[in-house]
């Protein structure tokens, strides 16, 4: 069964098992390797993509569920929030091993897209599903605040 969807603005067609998680369809069949496998159970966030703009764990999303939808991966992240996040990530040297960072960035970009002025509590809530074993959390927090500032939002008190 062929499944049609949009990936990073391009129409794509997948002829795979409809139960195949979107993650493996993206990685093994669309050959976009920026989205990472970390747990396979929506526990770590490394596989986060945007589906119609919403941050989603692609490792538990069957490819059949995204038929006709628009998927954005790290390779196609082009929103102002996304670009501000990536710029801040580089400026603050957030990544260490870097493996989880695609997912972190997709979660952070979605957060700032919806809430350009997040508090620390907002950041905690939005980012708690993304594990970083290198423990780059201090810099992730700082980079989200920096991206928010760059997007023109005043920095909230207590940040």
């Amino acid at each position: 069964m062929s499944i049609k969807l949009t990936v990073n603005g391009e129409s794509r067609e997948l002829d795979v098992d409809p139960d195949m998680p979107l993650l493996w369809a993206i990685r093994d069949h669309l050959e976009l390797s920026g989205t990472k496998f970390g747990c396979g159970m929506a526990l770590c966030g490394a596989c986060t993509v945007h589906i119609d703009g919403q941050p989603t764990r692609s490792c538990v999303t069957p490819v059949s569920a995204v038929a006709g939808k628009s998927v954005t991966t790290i390779e196609g992240l082009a929103t102002p929030a996304g670009q501000a996040v990536q710029k801040a990530w580089i400026a603050l040297d957030v990544p260490q091993c870097g493996y989880c960072q695609s997912g972190q960035i997709m979660s952070a970009a979605a957060l700032l897209g919806a809430n350009p002025q997040p508090s620390d509590a907002d950041i905690d809530a939005a980012m708690s599903g993304n594990i970083c074993r290198c423990g780059t959390y201090v810099r992730i927090r700082a980079a989200i605040h920096e991206a928010a500032a760059a997007l023109g939002a005043p920095k909230p008190a207590g940040s």
Partner: protein, 757 residues
């Protein structure tokens, strides 16, 4: 993308100027030691072998032929990039920035022109010099040694290239070398106003004689080393999804494999029925390998489904069937017995403790811990009749090369390892038996090399896969005599990491595994009466070094009990420690700096549930002191602030040092607050992150401040030493806040309250 790696790998290894010693025979059982010790000694420095540049077609500039200057540790290209050949794995610890910084400094390059790539697997050229004094000539990354062992080597490499560039410029311009300067990647002769880039001069420099001796800079004139903020060379790729890891490698016709492994450690395949697995669409092969049964498929999803459909009958006659409750019971009994190996002894600990005026004791319990790097173990193997190629985040290239050679029957030099960035390791990718590299090679061999194969461990494979930080039990008593002298008696019970591996001959002395008992109180404090002993139970659960290794537990019992002893004596925890550190000036420096920055001399607010604690510990040649401030509400612990002081000698890249301290604090906190692998009847109870909990962003302290002790000593490691002090610092803070002693990890305040009652 894989093509880039193929090209890079062939370019690096195909220069023809880096001769390597030939080894005639395939390796046998003592593969690691034989390989590493027979590997010759001719090229141990390896910095004096330039490539021979020649002008390419149409090449050449006013400054000379357009050709690269190629040396084992760096390549200067006509496009003016300087690429450092990194012999160490980048797994997040920042060596792809630190190693280039050392070269750039002595070369006087501009940071913008620096690049980095992995070295091929080639010992002794790319061996880790830290282990050469032990007779080991192996390429590997571990023990927080990357910067320390490369320090002189890469400075010399950079200075040598610089001298050859200067000589080339002087020759072309007809000026004395003494008048030629290099700054920010520009070679210049001020009197004549001539200038050239490093890239323009590279071809001519390659034709210059190699200077036998070069002068290295005085540390006072460093301008890249020690720069507060030197941008990481890998930050962009890792912020855009373009960094390539082993899991991202794609080769034409490549298949993906997962392995069904025994449900208990030590189990073996008795028989298997592949019919249902082979019926799964996409599955192409099911093969037995020494570690289990591999299911090979066109993609990961099919491989996983194939494994689910596979039926294996396991022989568990030799499997470990004990659980961790049973094991801990046995450890406690062992600790009460008289039989043990003596690790350290001075004075009369038994007598002094009997007559002590202040006395404390503790029974400390530490669980097995999984490393759980975010990139599950992955490796790709392409096997031909006379060549085996492996792509992986390899941490021990020489042993991995030897293992693949032994499996395939090829010679080690026929095994090519392309080391990619690893998505974390924390020690997990450094297995003496080469673990996942052996597995992927075995699959390639079992399938006749008919396609390249990529092995992926699922997270469940990783969490249940063993090679844990060993389960440990410590029984400790400490006291202060009338004369003020401190006595310490400690029994450590925990599996050896290295006995039974190729590392045993190198590391174990008098039966003592330093990776089981190092960093104990006898090493770190001036104690008049001390007795430390060890029992090494034989358990079938495979264990491994886990970020900071033995220090994960020895620092804990030491720093918690010394704090309790200070409290018993009515002394300030910092002042008390300082009295016992007369022979440890770097401990003193770190402790004083952290106390100053944390405001230790100011009274801590007497709010209900708030407390602060301190700990100091040396590991891998680096001393780290930390102060933790906590808030306890009910049975919940929040770490509000951590102040950290680190003495790592010269800080080559201070921001990376700070990042490593932040990282190590998170890693240690994860273990202190959450980390635990348990077994029931030999089966691992946890399978994924819902059960093996790790630190998440909301748990990270809001404030983590890192200060570097100024030093002119050569650099020491920073990847691991930040981990040991955090758990005891937090435990000491919780005790200050609540009076509750935390002796079992991970922390369970409710259970500790009951135990303390």
């Amino acid at each position: 993308m894989y093509v880039r790696y193929l090209e890079e790998a062939s370019r690096v290894s195909g220069s023809g100027h880096r001769s390597e010693p030939t080894r005639g025979a395939a390796l046998t059982r003592r593969q690691f030691l034989e390989l590493t010790t027979l590997a010759g000694s001719g090229l141990t420095l390896g910095v004096l072998l330039p490539g021979c540049g020649s002008a390419g077609p149409g090449g050449g500039t006013a400054a000379g032929p357009a050709a690269p200057l190629e040396m084992p540790f760096l390549r200067i290209a006509p496009d003016n990039t300087v690429t450092v050949i990194a012999k160490h794995l980048e797994a997040g610890q920042g060596v792809w920035t630190g190693l280039p910084a050392i070269v750039a400094e002595e070369l006087d390059a501009s940071w913008q022109q620096m690049r980095v790539e992995s070295a091929p697997a080639k010992a002794p050229l790319y061996q880790n010099n830290a282990f050469v004094p032990l007779g080991v000539h192996a390429q590997f990354t571990g023990g927080s040694t990357a910067i320390a062992n490369s320090w002189q080597q890469l400075r010399t490499a950079g200075a040598t290239a610089r001298a050859m560039l200067v000589a080339a410029a002087a020759q072309q311009w007809g000026v004395p070398t003494a008048e030629v300067t290099v700054s920010e990647g520009v070679v210049a002769h001020a009197p004549s106003g001539r200038k050239a880039s490093l890239g323009e001069l590279a071809g001519s420099a390659a034709q210059q004689p190699v200077p036998a001796n070069v002068t290295l800079k005085e540390p006072g004139s460093f301008r890249i080393i020690g720069r507060e903020k030197l941008p990481r060379l890998d930050a962009r790729a890792k912020s855009t999804g373009t960094q390539q890891y082993a899991i991202d490698v794609r080769l034409p016709g490549m298949m993906t494999a997962v392995i069904a492994r025994p449900p208990r450690f030590g189990g073996k395949v008795k028989s298997f029925d592949a019919a249902k697995a082979k019926a799964v669409a996409g599955v192409v092969d099911v093969v037995e390998i020494p570690r289990g049964v591999a299911v090979v498929a066109r993609d990961m999803w099919s491989a996983k489904k194939g494994r689910e459909a596979l039926s294996v009958d396991w022989d568990e006659s030799g499997a470990e069937k004990r659980g961790t409750t049973q094991l801990m019971k046995e450890y406690r009994a062992l600790a009460r017995g008289k039989q043990a190996l003596t690790v350290a002894q001075a004075g009369d600990a038994d007598g002094a403790l009997t007559h002590a005026v202040h006395r404390v004791s503790g029974e400390f319990e530490f669980p097995y811990l999984a490393h759980a790097p975010m990139e599950p173990l992955t490796a790709v193997c392409s096997l031909g009749p006379d060549k085996c190629e492996i792509w992986a985040g390899c941490q021990m290239q020489t042993p991995d090369q030897a293992a693949a050679a032994a499996i395939t029957g090829l010679k080690p030099e026929q095994v090519f390892i392309y080391t990619l960035a690893a998505g974390g390791t924390f020690g997990r990718r450094a297995t003496p038996d080469s673990d996942f590299v052996s597995e992927v090679t075995s699959i390639a061999k079992a399938t006749g090399g008919k396609y390249p194969v990529r092995l992926i461990w699922t997270r469940e494979d990783d969490i249940t896969g063993g090679r844990y930080r060993p389960l440990n039990y410590h029984r400790v008593e400490a006291g202060i005599g009338k004369d003020g002298k401190v006595a310490w008696r400690q029994r450590i019970v925990g599996q050896s990491i290295v006995i039974g591996t190729a590392f045993e001959a190198v590391l174990v002395k008098n039966g003592i595994d330093p990776n089981a008992v190092g960093g104990n109180a006898a090493e770190e404090y001036d104690l008049d009466h001390v007795h430390v002993s060890w029992n090494a139970p034989k358990v079938g659960v495979p264990v491994l070094w886990w970020r900071s290794v033995e220090n994960t537990h020895t620092a804990y019992s030491k720093e918690v009990l010394i704090d309790e002893l200070a409290q018993a004596a009515g002394e300030d925890p910092v002042a008390f420690r300082l009295k016992l550190l007369g022979k440890h000036p770097r401990h003193v420096g770190a402790l004083k700096l952290v106390a100053e920055k944390a405001g230790w001399d100011q009274p801590f607010p007497k709010e209900k549930g708030r407390g602060r604690g301190v700990a100091v510990h040396e590991s891998f040649g680096t001393v780290v002191a930390q102060v933790a401030e906590v808030t306890v509400k009910g049975d919940s612990i929040t770490v509000d602030r951590v102040v950290c002081a680190v003495d790592c000698g010269i800080a080559v890249t201070p921001d990376v040092v700070k990042a490593q301290m932040q990282s190590a604090i998170a890693f240690g906190l994860s273990a202190a607050l959450l980390g635990k692998i348990t077994l029931t009847d030999g089966h691992v109870d946890q399978t994924n992150f819902h059960q093996y909990q790790v630190l998440r962003l909301p748990d990270m302290p809001r404030a983590v401040e890192v200060y570097i002790v100024p030093s002119s000593n050569p650099p020491s490691g920073v990847g691991e030493p930040g981990t040991p002090p955090i758990a005891p610092a937090v435990a000491n803070a919780v005790r200050a806040a609540t009076g509750v002693r935390l002796h079992t990890l991970p922390f369970d305040l409710a259970a500790a309250r009951r135990a303390n009652a």
